[in-house]
């Protein structure tokens, strides 16, 4: 999300070229060509056996790493995990396998040489600006920007903030799943979670899906695991399960969202780290941006920044005008009762079409009208949310009719 002209965010942006290729049918080789000595030092520090092992799912012992300062190149070779040309080989020349390496965040490498919590200017700004808002304001702004369906993208009422202060939580999701009710052989070491947290750039929100039905038979988060997370840049923990040792949890520097408290650990083990998870009706992918406060947790879709902040300010400005009018000498009960739906909003934001009080969201003309995936969420941008509802109704009727018609033309 760096603006043009900002410091390069990824190795690919910093490098002259990051490339990959077969080295014969059984080996793959990656190279990062860096433009100057400083960039080479960053690449040199960044590209470790651990990093390549993590990115390419290959054992560190199988790697050959060549550091060539004269050419400002770091080269890594390893046996192809999938033999060239076999059924599951999707990259015959291994020509696109540089991308995971090219996408590695450079600031992660710089951080190795700096204090743990040093972050890039971009992420500091984004985090700070989001932390000035509460979830309802940001949720309204997301609705106005049409960046998500209105009924999704936030935690439902099944979890609450068990501990935490008034300050909003902001961070990137690191995901994990657990089970506790019955014993099982599917447990993995908690170090996978710690590694995933350490490798995520900036503040982290741990999202833990309890797979038991019903969830909450045993707690992952208690004094011990909580203390370990407190030693990492964790800004919050969210689970559909339950937690314990609440007195200790209160002392940790992050809020905890859970279904409630419980007594036991039971057969608790982590079963996955880094998968998509669903917690309290909210589906989260690793790296998703999350925001939370006492109301709950809000998912900020890709592309929400930076428009969401501007939109939230616009909404607050509009609301403030109405509040001011209600307190001004111009206010009278007659005027309030005479007011047609939406005229307040018109007065406040200058839009032509009236909108009902409470729905006075004015969308900036530059705001996106499509979902990140390209899904069109509304036909046009307008102040009138009722028009939007109408369009959606028409859309639903039409799509339903099409699907019914489709039944008669089905081939199978």
């Amino acid at each position: 999300m760096a603006d043009p002209g900002d410091a390069p965010a990824t190795l690919g942006e910093l490098a002259l070229e990051v490339r990959s290729k077969n080295a014969g049918p059984f080996w793959m080789t990656l190279e990062a060509f860096m433009p100057d000595d400083q960039a080479y030092r960053i690449a040199d520090a960044l590209i470790t056996a651990e990093l390549i092992s993590e990115l390419y799912h290959v054992p560190p012992a199988s790697l050959q790493i060549f550091r060539i300062p004269d050419l400002r190149v770091v080269k890594v070779s390893f046996p192809r995990p999938i033999v060239q040309g076999s059924l599951r080989d999707r990259d015959m020349h291994a020509g696109q396998h540089h991308v995971p390496l090219a996408n590695v965040n450079v600031s992660a490498a710089q951080r190795k040489h700096h204090p743990r919590d040093l972050m890039t200017a971009t992420s500091v700004n984004a985090t700070e600006s989001l932390a000035r808002w509460d979830t309802p304001a940001l949720s309204n702004a997301l609705d106005a920007l049409r960046l998500r369906p209105r009924g999704a993208g936030y935690s439902d009422g099944s979890i609450q903030r068990i501990t935490g202060t008034a300050a909003p939580m902001v961070g990137r999701a690191v995901t994990a799943r657990m089970a506790a009710r019955e014993p099982g052989e599917d447990g993995i070491s908690v170090s996978h979670l710690h590694k995933a947290i350490a490798q995520t750039d900036g503040p982290v929100v741990v999202v833990l899906e309890d797979r038991d039905d019903p969830a909450g038979a045993g707690a992952f988060l208690g004094e011990v695991n909580g203390s370990l997370l407190a030693a990492l840049p964790v800004k919050g923990v969210i689970t559909n399960g339950r937690v314990r040792d609440v007195a200790e949890l209160r002392a940790f520097p992050y809020p905890v969202y859970a279904a409630g408290l419980c007594v036991a650990r039971a057969y608790m083990r982590l079963t996955d780290v880094g998968t998509d998870v669903t917690v309290a009706g909210l589906t989260v992918r690793p790296g998703d941006l999350l925001h939370g406060d006492e109301h709950g947790v809000l998912h900020l879709p890709p592309g929400a920044l930076p428009d969401i902040i501007e939109q939230a300010e616009l909404i607050r400005e509009n609301e403030q005008k109405i509040v001011e009018w209600s307190r001004s000498a111009d206010f009278s009960v007659d005027k309030l009762l005479q007011l047609r739906r939406g005229e307040l909003a018109e007065a406040a934001c200058g839009c032509r079409k009236p909108a009902p009080p409470g729905h006075m969201l004015c969308v900036r003309p530059s705001a996106r009208s499509t979902m990140p995936g390209g899904q069109v969420w509304s036909g046009r941008l307008t102040c009138d949310d009722f028009r939007l509802v109408g369009l959606k109704l028409i859309f639903l009727v039409v799509t339903r009719a099409v699907s019914v018609l489709g039944l008669s033309r089905r081939e199978a």
């Binding site: 290729k21 077969n22 080295a23 014969g24 049918p25 059984f26 080996w27 080789t29 190279e31 060509f33 990115l55 390419y56 799912h57 199988s62 050959q64 060549f66 060539i68 004269d70 050419l71 190149v73 080269k75 070779s77 046996p79 033999v83 060239q84 040309g85 076999s86 059924l87 599951r88 999707r90 990259d91 015959m92 020349h93 696109q96 396998h97 991308v99 995971p100 996408n103 998509d276 992918r285 790296g287 890709p302 979902m371 990140p372 995936g373 390209g374 899904q375 699907s403 019914v404 489709g406 039944l407 033309r409 089905r410 081939e411 199978a412």
Partner: protein, 459 residues
Amino acid sequence: MPDQSGPPDSVGILVPSGMLGAGFRPETITRGISLGADVIAVDGGSTDSGPYYLGAGVAKTAEGAVRRDLRLLLAAASSARIPLIVSSCGTGGTDAGVNWVADIVNAICAADGLDLTVAKIFSEQRAGQLIAELERGRIHALPPSEPLDAATLGRCAHIVAMMGHEPIEQALRAGANVVLAGRATDTAVSAAFALMRGMPPGPTWHAAKIIECGGQCTTNPASGGVFARIDHSGFTIEPLDPATACTPTSVAAHMLYETANPYTMREPGGSIEVAAARYTAIDERTVRVEGSRFEPAGQYTVKLEGAAVTGYETVSFAGIRDPQILASIDVWAGFLDKTLTERVASVLELAPGSWGGDLRLYGYNAILGELETEPATPREVGVMLLVSAEDQQTATAISKLANPLLLHLPLPTMSYLPSFAFATSPAHIDRGAAYEFVLNHVVDTDSPTDLFRLEITNG
């Protein structure tokens, strides 16, 4: 072309392009000849495009493109009275590949009235003979492969051995003007003539490695040919396109290209060691390289390549644009996988392990699969289903069972059947036999020419 006197001061090598049939401008050749080329060398093949070409014994390049390149090269070699060497003929370097290129050469010579002696060097190996070598303990695995077994050799559709420079030198000494070699190391084609003329092995092998991909070692890899002059203390290299340059960086960086280790490269008779090489700019487009070494090995080893049929494949393709499906594309793909497996088991009575399917979601995560770091909700997805089975009939039958699923499979939560976008009718294409490289082994030989067969005809 045997050497009559002592070694010359230097040998000039013209490499017109990285691969025969890739094309080059006629000026490339005129320029190279005017620089005093003593030999024209060009690689005709590679494993890089996959096992099919070796397995099927078919060339990757179009016959017309190979003929066009050869006509220019044969005319230039003939009029300059210098040899033309082509290695790894027909992409895989099979006997069929050598004969295919030889037929083209003979037709050109006949049509253009060229009187040239053409040598063919065959490098294809019989499994039976190699099994005998295996039993004598003379075949060894290269990392990361396991030791070889006889069954694997028996499964190969074609096996080739990668020759060093010696069989090519043998053909040149026997008077060949044109050498058409089967599978050879990428470097042997350029090194053979210079070594025969007494150039030192260190600079010769290093130069041969640098020029093997043509313009790849220049500032403009698309520009085509390069010219190297090897002498007794090193070599100089320049592009044949006057608008392009070789720089110390572009030349040194080529040691990285398609190599696992940029400092040392194994040839049949030893290793090229370039860690101590120095790269100096002579002018703005010519580079001098000194300090490269060649370390002879205790045992001469020849690398084997083999491709075996892994099954018969059918590929199906459908497009999805529906945002509702795309929002849960992983769920959909899992559902398709499961449904297809069940249908194949119940309808065709095939157990899940007896056939293979690879469902690829192009536009979502097809290329990197589980290595994908940033899967986002896609705008559209091309669904490719690749099915592999023991025979074509079964692969086709499985794909036909998959057809209605690729057309209509809903999400498990949907109450109606969607219809997706087939790109073609039918939506599937039979691919025929599919191959896999199964050999990554070397065989010890007593003589560098033992495994190769030379045939010379006067054109």
